[in-house]
Symmetry: C2
Subunit: 415 residues, 2 copies
Amino acid sequence: MAEDASAAKVLPRERLRAPARAARQQSLRAHNLALVLREVLTAPSPVSRADVAALTGLTRATVSALVEQLVAARLVRELTPVAGQRAGRPAVPLAAARGTVAAIGAEVNVDYLGVCALDMAGETLVEHVVRDDFRQSDPVPVLDRLADLVADVVAELDGRGVAIAGSALAIPGLVDSVTGPLRLAPNLGWRDVDVLAVIARHPVLAAVPPRLGNDAKLAAIAESRARRRTGPRSFVYVSGEVGIGGAIVLDGSIFRGVHGWSGEIGHVAIGTDGPRDMGGQLESYAGQDALMDAAGLSRSASIAELLRGGEAAQRALDRAADAIGIALSAVLNIVDVDRVVLGGIYADLAARLRPGVEAQLRDRVIAAPWTEITVEAAVAGRYPAMAGGALSVLDAIAEDPVEWLGAEDEVLVAQ
Amino acid sequence: MAEDASAAKVLPRERLRAPARAARQQSLRAHNLALVLREVLTAPSPVSRADVAALTGLTRATVSALVEQLVAARLVRELTPVAGQRAGRPAVPLAAARGTVAAIGAEVNVDYLGVCALDMAGETLVEHVVRDDFRQSDPVPVLDRLADLVADVVAELDGRGVAIAGSALAIPGLVDSVTGPLRLAPNLGWRDVDVLAVIARHPVLAAVPPRLGNDAKLAAIAESRARRRTGPRSFVYVSGEVGIGGAIVLDGSIFRGVHGWSGEIGHVAIGTDGPRDMGGQLESYAGQDALMDAAGLSRSASIAELLRGGEAAQRALDRAADAIGIALSAVLNIVDVDRVVLGGIYADLAARLRPGVEAQLRDRVIAAPWTEITVEAAVAGRYPAMAGGALSVLDAIAEDPVEWLGAEDEVLVAQ
DNA sequence: GGGATTTGTTGTATGGATGAACTTATCGAG
DNA sequence: CTCGATAAGTTCATCCATACAACAAATCCC
């Protein structure tokens, strides 16, 4: 057997769980292991075993035993104990491991293809982006190009001895989270594409089958992580691109809905006056192309050009702000959140759009008098969907580290 | 100490749980106890211990131990074993206990006050309803009348030896599930009323402090239970009354949102053309009063009169169906469910409204081509909000029977 | 240098689930 | 009517993960 300790390892596919699940003793362990791991990962600064014990209510003895497993699994690392300012034995700080286990996030967007890899600490290990125009494209060659990019990243991680926890692929459209295939990505011109089947033709990727995800939802995961320490963890994320996507984040996790098609805010009706087929929806007022058209600019014009545009541009921006506010008022009335995060091109337009959006929300949200509604620009990085995809894989490990431990053990036994 | 074994017993108020909770061995027990109880309660017909073991994956030994506790707590009862058609020792059928433990559901509505009591089996033990007009009423005397009704029900249950698990109060308005007070009930004319404080003045009720709830959400709980066996457990519930309420049910449980103000579908914007303050929202097209006004009928006219009304009535109904469909299309696009249940007056109008609603949904819901969207009339009883309130209390016991066991033990020890 | 203090570890005890053996109660064949 | 087969429910020894308590290690401060 080859001594290839750096071979890519993959989490077993989500096993379908029985309708009712008995809790056995090992469920306890799984729960507490996840608890300790989350505590270490989300702590604002390195924590000791004793800290974790105090935070969770577990005993130090138990925490020690659990931490040992997490360190062995290379999910957590021990830093060198630094003699503190207090009396007593100095604590051993624990933190997320770096460069040991990583997840791959990939993205097909209208303007670019991209792949990145993030480790447990959330650090970007690799990032490749290729710009091109994929409007009305043929899925197969596009996915082939993406697969090549992913293969490069896999090779690089393997070379560095990084275990691959899994991968995710963000697509700007409706992804069926139950049965798998991509249903509709209007701006790519894709419809009913079995993305996984196309990708599986590449041997390297068959070993790392990605979980598909909607780009806005994955971007919202990245945004949620970026805001992890700054206040409330529930918000609506609006992603302005050519299309308008959205996601609802509740207490840090994405609300998916029955099929995984929630948050389609771009298709919320704004006016009943306009033509119904394509007009009348938010996207026809505030989508990137619609906005440029209404401003009398080229569709390839920049946000900066739009902002300093003339009267038509300003009128288009005002109309867009109103439309976004009206659509968001429906969201806020229906799902009861009070924070809005503007992402995509809206992040750069946030200062310009905010007053109009807020006015509509104050006017139309029934709960407005009793809660402060905030509208902010996104703070996650440049490619939030890619990063969010990788983070979603890492989150899955944090949710159920036992599964990952099992997967690693299998590999170790086989060697 | 008095020998009053039938004294009303109340669950301790929801204790605020620590941000991170360690799982100890007794968490295992709590989980499995709840699991077994749910299995017994939701089974379509009585099940044996062996059945439960097979369904849950627990051993028969464990199930026996857990069932013993549930029987002792009077949550589950053993039926007489009936010699089956198979070989082997006949099974002891287990079912929800009847008439032993009950929850009280109360309701203040525009047209009536009501109180009911339901036992673990979901059977109605008592139901009192008083009809009156409470539009623009003074909260204190209304709540006093309600308190008297509740006191009657408590006395009756005590007399029958029924333990009271708790109570819920449904109100047609925004109830703050975090801090407590009623924020706004527009059609009652109530605003920022500390309902619990008013109720606590009545000694009998201070012992059974109700959990407040929005009427549509609680009605949706009753609807969800009524549909427990018929297919998918996720839907949007729309409650048409003078105001229009709504609730989102996901896999059998209510989606509450950040404050508990989700589902306010009545305030979703339909058209941007109309005046913005009160017009333009669903309620101004399809609320009961709006509907009667538009039909040229008296506001106290019946649904039957509306249905057989003339051209104006038919036009009003068509407009209402369109408006409901447009508002629901926003809900379906945002939260991704595919079933709509029409409750309140819409249940009686469902046959008339359905085509218009469905047409709008087919047109406006982006996911429509890939999932069948259904619109149905509600099937829960006449006072779903009251019943749903009681059910929500019973559900809480089913979620965490240990808490109820603890509460009962305290009473038993004290005696 | 010694006491105080805090961290992490090493036992032993405990609660809850498992699994196998056992008892109880029925059906069906001879 | 008796006996074997079959299934339900119970009893008991075992296992496992955590709690609890005692202990060792490493620092601060007087």
